[in-house]
Symmetry: C2
Subunit: 120 residues, 2 copies
C-alpha cells in the first residue's frame, strides 16, 4: 500500500522526529519537454513505494529552476533507491537530456520545526 | 566585501567539500504581496554578508509553494544568523503574515555531486 506523504499544501509536514535523511536535488532544466513531466511524475510515484521513503517536497519555477527534497529513514534507503533499475534509467537520461545542470546533496536532518496550516 | 555565491544558474555550485550545513525552508505563501518581495531580497542580501554563509538556492512557483536551501559552514553560523536582529523581525512577520505554513529543517550535508553547465 502506498500512503501519500505529501500533504495538500505540498509541504512534507508529517515526518517522524529527526534524525532522518534528506536528498536535496536542485536543477536547471534544458529547453523543451522531451518526456520530462511523465518521468518526473513516475519517479515520485515510484519513490513513494520504496522502503524508508518519508516524504517529498518539489518546486520548479517558470525559468526552469527546481528544487526537490526527498526525505528518507536512513542512508540504506537512499542507496537502494539510487540503484533501482527504473530510477537508474531516469538518472542517465536526466544527465544527458533533461538537466542543463544540477547539484545533489545527501544530508542528515538534525532538527525540524514548522508552522502548520489550519485545517480547512 | 560580499561575494555572491549564487551562480547565474541559480544553483549553489561552488561550495566547499562536505561536511557543511543546510537549512531547508519550505513554505506556502499567504495571498497578497504585503511587502514580502522586498523582505525576501533583503534577507538574502543580509544572509550573504554573515560569517559562515556558503550559498543559497531558492525557488517559488506560481501556486506560492517555495523551497529555499541556504548552506552554512557550521551550526554556529546558523545560530548566529537566526539571532540576527533584522532577521528576527522578518521571522516574526513571516510567521504572522507571509506564510500560511512552513517547515524548517537543519541538516548536515555529508555528500555532494553535480553536473555543471558548460561555460557560455
Amino acid at each position: 500500500m502506498i500512503v501519500s506523504r505529501m500533504s495538500a499544501s505540498g509541504l512534507a509536514s508529517d515526518l517522524p522526529e529527526p534524525p532522518y535523511y534528506a536528498v536535496i536535488f536542485s536543477s536547471l532544466r534544458t529547453a523543451g519537454e522531451q518526456g520530462y513531466g511523465a518521468m518526473a511524475e513516475r519517479m515520485v510515484e515510484l519513490a513513494r513505494a520504496q522502503p524508508g521513503f518519508l516524504g517529498v517536497e518539489s518546486v520548479r519555477d517558470a525559468a526552469g529552476l527546481g528544487i526537490t527534497v526527498s526525505y528518507w529513514r536512513d542512508e540504506e534507503s537512499i542507496a537502494a533507491w539510487k540503484r533501482h533499475a527504473e530510477h537508474l534509467v531516469a538518472q542517465a537520461r536526466g544527465k544527458r537530456v533533461w538537466y542543463e545542470a544540477y547539484e545533489l546533496r545527501v544530508a542528515r536532518v538534525e532538527r525540524a520545526l514548522g508552522k502548520r496550516a489550519a485545517a480547512p
